[in-house]
Amino acid sequence: MGLLAVEGLSIGYHTEKGLLHAVEDVSFTVKRGRSLGLVGESGCGKTTLGLAILRLLPENGTILKGRILFDGADLLEKSDEAMRRIRWKEISMIFQAAMNALNPVHRVKDQIAEAILTHEPETPRETVRSRVEALFDQVGIPRSRMGDFPHQYSGGMKQRAVIAMALALRPRLIIADEPTTALDVIVQDQILRQTRRIQEAFDISMIVISHDIAVVAEVCHDIGVLYAGQLVEYGDRESVLQSPMHPYSRMLLGAFLTVGGKPPRVPDNGNDSPDLMDPAPGCRFHDRCPMAEDPCRQTPVASVTVGRTHRVLCRRVA
């Protein structure tokens, strides 16, 4: 039994042109103390999935069907107030700090303290302070910088501060959306290792959302590959990385550059991601797939179990 189980989740956005099918029939579980990486190109629905779990979709986003079971209870059936109490306390989020995730007019320590005081209002001031100090220690920001405003931090420090904030209430699940995207590789590596250490130390489950399969490969136990809103491949890290079954996963891994290795050659017939306004009933990857056949387009695909924990959404694999 996983901590979080997403079952058959479909999400749409109401747009001027009609309903956009951003996420289609996605299922996965996140086990206690384990981390799941969701990879895919931009627009594949990975951020939408993350926001949907916290029920923070923008106003025009709606969950069309499916369930999001957290600890056995469906989050989609909770009242707004019950959901508010779950946010950050049970499930917190690490946002991409480069994107202004911290409020520019408040001090960093106050923004972290605010999270604690919102959910645990009884906490004495002194305790809040020492907890915030401990969080700064954990993520490696000097305590002397606690009273700074966000713009005084470097990109890496902001990201650490955002991580510290996500840890403030020891949540059971953290959703990290592109946690290291805007950072240079060395800082990225430090932060990933730190994240992993903290996650293991506190037995926190994680969902890491990234467009970078290298990031996911480094921190996650399980990997899900998203393409145009469909979870095309899902399984434990070893299976997915060593024997990717879906043509798209193979392309993704093929594009993975190794130092000293040959430059990758990604077979691509030039087609772009499919139109999500009115997708064909079949596989959404058929346009770009080197293995596509006629039925791929029209026949809905069912996922195929290829290993104990490995699932692929492709009729050619079956």
Partner: protein, 325 residues
């Protein structure tokens, strides 16, 4: 330390700007049609008297000498005598200024506070009926012609209902009554102030509402608002603590500038309500060729505009840490 350097630089800038304004005013008054002397010289004066007066006023000297006198007089606080009142200009200004400041600071503060508050609510309820109602109301009152609004208010509340005095700032019978205490007098001024204050409020709160609303709508799209939601903060906290402080920044500029321009922009209101302030005095002095008074009033207005700009910058620095540090 940084702050003092900044302040010092700004003071120098203000000084230079003010000197330029001083010079432009000097030139403007020399090239303006109409001659100050003809106004002062009565038909009963002899030619010798007129010549003596001209030389007393220094008007027979070369222009650049006149300019030097002008500058010296300014720095020694000597603004001359009003042609009309025969009193030192500085006394007239000091007498009228508090009335203007009283009326306009209260109206700007009142309309800013109400406008910001309503703008915040309107943005929060974007698209709902209350938002449409507030936005529409703000647009209508803001675009109404001020004297018309003033006259309508006078007609309804002063003439039809008789709740408020039609014009002026004080009732003489109360101020001449030795037994009337300070409170009675203050209340009397307030009673006179209600209608002009209401006029200015109705005209100006709309602009603050609209500025705040659009700034707030922009702010609500920011990522830190999403963070605040994800943190499980209550909606009210997100609105008042995370969105509003960021959104209020453009309003501060607007408030500062309207404080600056209220001194002269109030000319209409002060004239309609016979409010004894600087604005009315300015209109009066210009239409009566009272050069010394007009000149001093213009200088005062420029000084207020310059200082308000500085105050806005300082306030901005206080509110926005990105500027402060």
């Amino acid at each position: 330390m940084e702050l003092w350097r900044y302040l010092w630089r700004r003071f120098i800038q203000i000084g230079i700007t003010f000197f330029v304004i001083l010079t432009i005013l000097f030139v403007l008054f020399r090239i303006a049609p109409g001659d100050p002397v003809t106004r002062m010289i009565g038909p009963e004066m002899t030619t010798e008297d007129a010549v003596r007066l001209i030389s007393q006023l220094g008007l027979d000297r070369p222009l650049w000498i006149q300019y030097l006198y002008y500058v010296r007089n300014f720095f020694t606080g000597n603004f001359g005598y009003s042609f009309h009142y025969g009193q030192p200009v500085i006394e007239i200004i000091w007498d009228r200024l508090p009335n203007t400041v009283l009326l306009f600071t209260s109206s700007v503060i009142l309309s800013a506070v109400v406008g910001v508050f309503l703008g915040k609510i309107a943005a929060w309820r974007k698209g709902k009926r209350s938002d449409t109602l507030m936005t529409l109301g703000a647009l209508v009152t803001h675009t109404v012609f001020l004297p018309w609004m003033a006259l309508i208010l006078i007609w309804i509340f002063a003439y039809r209902f008789g709740w408020f005095p039609i014009n002026g700032m004080i009732s003489e019978e109360i101020w001449l009554d030795p037994s009337a205490g300070l409170w009675i007098k203050a209340l009397d001024v307030f009673h006179h102030m209600v209608l002009p204050l209401l006029t200015l409020f109705l005209i100006y709160f709309g602009s603050y509402l609209l500025i705040m609303r659009s700034a707030m709508l922009e702010t609500l799209k920011e990522d830190y608002i999403l963070t605040a939601r994800a943190k499980g903060l209550k909606e009210k906290v997100i609105r008042n603590h995370h969105a509003a402080p960021n959104a209020a920044l453009p309003v501060v500029t607007s408030v500062g500038l309207s404080l600056a321009f209220s001194i002269n922009g109030g000319a209409l209101t002060e004239t309609v309500f016979s409010w004894p302030g600087i604005g009315r005095e300015l209109v009066f002095s210009v239409s009566n060729n009272d050069y010394p008074l007009a000149q001093a009033a213009f200088l005062l207005i420029s000084a207020v505009v310059l200082v308000s700009n500085l105050v806005v910058d300082l306030l901005y620095a206080y509110l926005d840490p990105r500027i402060r540090y």
